[in-house]
Symmetry: C2
Subunit: 365 residues, 2 copies
């Protein structure tokens, strides 16, 4: 139907009927450049911030392609399991995914850098690295062996360390904690004596309520509120040292990618960039609102991780990251580039961003 209405618009009225008839009769769908693309995701349908981002991107590609592309979205589990999207796109079972690179560190450790690294890049810095720091090219290089062309397509803003019923006052308080935290952040907790577990989102609240775990991270206020952790834990620890700005991506099957016209390739690239703006804005506005509600309505008690604990975490993160980043040549190449960029961003952010936020505190209280 879209194809027909498109043709109707693009030719003069008198010729429309002829053309429509000719198109229908003479050529296969692919030769007309009309395709239906399956986009699989790692998120429930319309999950705030992530499911909504995936849907938005799918809809915009469809709308702006003038009927040539129709992107059909599949929520986690509908076509493939939530963490099976990369393989599905790689093998061509699906055409695209909307997911997060760090879910696929099993394919290449380098993938972690395109999502988030403890004490690493903020959301804004991650986008800057991808667009102007060489990140995009390294992401392409990392995914090409898997027959995938990737795009950064969203950056949730800050996260928090997470929810606890016990207070952390010294490094010793980490010992024996049963905590849910994946990746290098979790590894640092482990090296400080915690028992680190990994449970899927749906099991976290019951585990917290039963005491099976003492604490859990998930995202920031916007993501966490929906999972209801405030019902089971009274302390909310910040900052999110382990996930300062998590990149999510759109990945396209490379064979499909190569068969697209230059304009359709550019359309996917531009919609991905627009989706970054929208996703970052949704999380930023959503975090503000959710944090207010958590503190004022649900009486959650905010706790800052003490400096000594942050320093101990940092030591173990730095050690673990050195091991992780140097574990193979492809990962080392990404890690070295990331480290140099982080150094420049860190100096710039202290003087430009952090000092502004401190000044605004003086001005607004």
């Amino acid at each position: 139907m879209k194809r027909r209405s498109f043709i109707k618009k693009s030719v003069v009225a008198g010729a429309a009927a002829t053309v429509a008839a000719a198109s229908t009769l003479a050529a296969p769908a692919i030769a007309q450049g009309k395709r239906e693309l399956k986009m699989v995701t790692s998120w429930p349908k319309n999950l705030p911030g992530l499911g909504t981002s995936a849907q938005w991107a799918a809809d915009k590609i469809t709308q702006l392609s003038g009927g040539r592309l129709t992107v059909k979205l599949f929520a986690a589990g509908e076509l493939v399991p939530p963490f099976g999207t990369f393989d599905a796109v790689s093998q061509g079972t699906a055409d695209m995914h909307h997911s997060a690179p760090f879910l696929y560190v099993g394919k290449s450790k380098a993938m972690a850098f395109f999502s988030t690294i403890p004490f690493g890049l903020t959301s804004t810095e991650l986008v800057a690295w991808m667009e102007f720091g060489g990140g995009d090219a390294l992401f392409d290089e990392t995914c090409a062996p898997f027959n995938i062309k990737p795009f950064l397509s969203g950056v949730p803003d800050y996260t928090f360390m997470g929810w606890l019923n016990k207070e952390i006052k010294t490094v010793d308080d980490i010992k024996g904690l049963k905590y849910r935290m994946p990746g290098i952040g979790g590894e640092a907790l482990k090296r400080l004596g915690a028992t680190v577990v990994n449970l899927p989102a749906g099991e976290l609240l019951p585990a917290l309520q039963s005491g099976a775990i003492d604490g859990t991270e998930w995202a920031g206020p916007y993501g966490d509120m929906g999972l209801g952790f405030f019902k089971a834990a009274k302390f909310y620890y910040y900052p999110g040292f382990h996930e300062p700005g998590t990149g999510v991506d759109i990945a396209v099957n490379l064979n499909l990618w190569k068969s697209l016209s230059k304009d359709d390739q550019e359309l996917i690239s531009v919609v991905s960039k627009a989706a970054i703006t929208r996703c970052h804005a949704e999380f930023t506005a959503g975090n503000g609102k959710a944090l207010t509600t958590l503190i004022e309505t649900h009486k959650v008690q905010m706790r800052r991780i003490p400096d000594d604990v942050l320093k101990a975490l940092a030591k173990h993160v730095n050690d673990a990251l050195e091991e992780f980043g140097n574990s193979d040549p492809a990962t080392k190449k990404v890690y070295d580039n990331f480290k140099a960029f982080r150094k420049e961003m860190h100096a710039s952010a202290q003087i430009g961003n952090e000092s502004y936020l401190a000044a605004r505190r003086l001005a607004l209280g």
Copy 2:
């Protein structure tokens, strides 16, 4: 040419010649939906971050419209003067502009809020306000009486207070300074005893070199380095309390806007969002690199505005902003919305963003 190649792709080979002939003969250009649009800008051609953003947006709209729209860019002064773009679009002399809302506070004071306010929203928070906090609708409402449909299309990151040869150690050091700073920030300096001047970009370096002014702001490191201020001043003061995150926009003549198809309207909206990502990334990466060069190569001395001076500036900014924001009902409506959003963002940014940057300082030094 683009129209023809587009048609070639969208119909079967056998019908192409017929259609092309029919299109050419039977309908005026407008009925075919093919238009050339003039985009005027307030920037020199390819000015880093702003001219480059305008060009990128013009090119993407052209490329992704399938030949229906061709956006031709005009640098500042080519078609209209740099600060004449709003009137040109309003009157239809030009079809679109790429400029900054706060250049047009003469039309409505409310325009300032869509660019930047001292001690106001950061770049990321501004985008969140526009997309999810009601800002976009207020921007539409502010511009509609001028026959303009506006879009946020870029957010340079942080700025700095600027360049000085004298040090500011106490509030008294502001007295008698001849300083270039526009808007409410400049008003606060004036209330502390400075003589505030406004000079165009090209006159700033000579004025600084001759001693005609003691100091000037412009943008952040990325924007300032190109203007060569490091040759004439040794102290670089931060933070940029007066411009924490400046929005730039694409404005479309409202008559033209209403005549566009829904898809072409959406294309302009999506390209504007993508341009925000790209512009913010260019400034973020560029600021990091420029700051390193300024400090390491040009031996610029960074100076933080002392707390007492920041507090005094904040007092006068808050007073001046209350007057400014309440000066007419339309501006008050925007100001009230902005204030509520800023309050939520400020709490969220302290706990989420500022505390993360402080933690990273503990981790990386």
